[in-house]
């Protein structure tokens, strides 16, 4: 079986000379179909950069990324990715529904169908009452939910999510986590998920990747062997706490490392 995502010795350097920033160094990563992998690490360690390399928004300085057995470029042309950026990036002149339906519109799906799908997606993120609002009429968290609905609307085989729940309150966040897990199970999507929350990474993932900064490297890979499907009980599971401790220690080890 081909990996959904495979990075072979991928490095990324921004700039050159004394200003050069080594954002990623010798990254090896294999993500199997249907996996839910979280990236965690201190700010500036290259998580967003890794997502952008995989999503073919930037080309790595060295190494070979592959997606569904193809180049990331081909995968992008095949619309294999649904992306959720750190900021919602909604288009001001489009209503909420039109924003959600944007990818479908670009793919040439006709109006009635994309409106129907868009409305279903809005229900999913509990914004069905806001279809004809404009982005500026929504709170930051609501905007981010719209951007998640937009990424899901065309059922991409891979979701690249960059701190999608960072702007949400705790209650909404937990509900969105459950929704994401439900969608992930139903659609057999592969998810690569960036977060700063240890608990979130452990709760959602099948695997947690811990990264260190400057240069961005993978320092630990932790399999999350919590039973599926995850639910309320998961957070009370003894193993849940053990894994959180495990990730926390991996992160602390980075800090103690001499720079």
């Amino acid at each position: 079986m081909t990996s959904t995502i495979s990075l072979d010795n991928v490095s990324m350097v921004f700039g050159s000379g004394i200003d050069a920033v080594k954002a990623l160094e010798s990254i090896d990563l294999d993500v199997q179909p249907g996996e839910f992998v979280s990236l965690i690490g201190p700010s500036g360690c290259g998580k967003s950069t890794m997502l952008r390399v995989i999503g073919d928004l930037i080309s790595p300085s060295a190494g070979t990324p592959q997606v569904n057995g193809k180049s990331p470029h081909q995968a992008r042309l095949d619309r294999d990715y649904g992306m959720v950026f750190q900021s919602a990036t909604l288009l001001d002149w489009r209503t909420v529904l039109e924003n959600v339906a944007l990818p479908l519109e670009i793919m040439g799906i006709d109006r009635p169908e994309r409106d129907a799908v868009g409305r279903k997606m809005l229900e999913l993120v509990q914004l069905d009452g806001f279809a004809s609002h404009y982005p500026w009429q929504l709170s930051g968290g609501m905007q981010q939910r719209v951007s998640i609905a937009r990424a899901l609307s065309f059922q991409p085989s891979i979701l690249l999510m960059d701190e999608p729940f960072g702007a949400l309150d705790e209650m909404t966040r937990e509900r969105m986590q459950m929704e994401l897990l439900r969608i992930w199970e139903e659609t057999e999507t592969t998810v690569l998920f960036v977060t700063h929350s240890i608990a979130e990474a452990v709760f959602l993932s099948t695997r947690v990747i811990v990264m260190s900064p400057r240069p961005g490297r993978i320092v630990d890979r932790i399999d999350v062997d919590l039973p599926q499907p995850r639910g309320f009980d998961t957070r009370e599971h003894q193993r849940f706490f053990e894994l959180i401790t495990r990730v926390r220690e991996a992160l602390r080890a980075i800090e103690d490392e001499p720079a």
Partner: protein, 254 residues
């Protein structure tokens, strides 16, 4: 009645200003060739109405035609310049330089090009005048798309044309409308000044120079008044279209 309240102060100042004007002219017995009283201008307007209206309409049509031609050209040139780096780097400095020169000095020359009686001269002068601000603003607008928005479109494998239609052009609308507001004022100024230097008869510019030459300043002022009314009308129309076209924009949100 939000409108009455927001226009209220302007109306008071306008009417008050007219009253003071009238009063000053009468009190100090100011001569008509220096400053006619509003009532004198008004009666001149009434007496000359048919002629003024014909002249005003002809000038207005020239201004609007020139605006349409120049703005269309500016939009197309702006799209080309935003699309091709080579054109942008070559043409933009020139466009910005041209935009800061007094292009209106072309007015007398236009008669040499198109003949004294041709209406084309005015249209061309106006078109050249509005071309540059429209082009420059449109380039800015088309290039104002944020990196993240472009990445979003890239992630959907959107073609260049799709990015233009769904991201760049809507994002350029606010820039386009600011340009059109500047351009509409320029168009009317350009048309009238061009007419000062000749061209077909029965135009506002011709009328104003003629009447001023005859020391009939009440009539000249009546024509100036009509020109202002056309200017305000054009500006209002652009504001109206702007509101309809981009109800989402900060400047328009209710």
């Amino acid at each position: 009645m939000k409108n009455v309240r927001s226009y209220g102060p302007a109306i008071v100042i306008f009417v008050g200003g007219l009253a003071i004007w009238e009063l000053v002219v009468r009190l100090f017995n100011i001569q008509g060739f220096i400053l006619p009283a509003p009532t004198a201008i008004l009666s001149a307007f009434a007496a000359e109405a048919p002629t003024l209206w014909r002249a005003g309409l002809a000038t207005f049509v020239s201004a609007v035609s020139g605006l349409a031609v120049g703005a269309t050209g500016g939009v197309l040139a702006g799209m080309a310049a935003s699309r091709f780096t080579l054109i942008r780097e070559g043409a933009m400095p020139l466009a910005i330089a041209a935009n800061s020169t007094p292009i209106i000095v072309l007015a007398p020359v236009a008669n040499a090009w198109f003949g004294l009686t041709s209406p084309i001269g005015t249209v061309v002068v106006v078109a050249v005048l509005v071309f540059f601000p429209v082009m420059i603003n449109l380039v800015r607008g088309l290039l104002s798309a944020e990196a993240q928005e472009l990445e979003l479109m890239a992630s959907y494998a959107a073609t260049r044309g799709t990015v233009l239609r769904k991201l760049r052009l809507p994002g350029a609308l606010p820039y386009f409308f600011s340009a059109m507001k500047i351009a509409s004022a320029l168009a009317l100024i350009g048309a009238i000044i061009k007419e000062y230097f000749g061209g077909p008869q029965e135009r506002l510019g011709q009328y104003i120079t003629l009447k001023a030459g005859l020391f009939q300043f009440e009539e000249a002022w009546a024509a100036i008044l009509l020109a202002s009314a056309f200017g305000i009308g054009m500006y209002g129309l652009i504001l109206f279209v702007e509101r309809k076209a981009m109800p989402w924009h900060v400047s328009v949100r209710s």
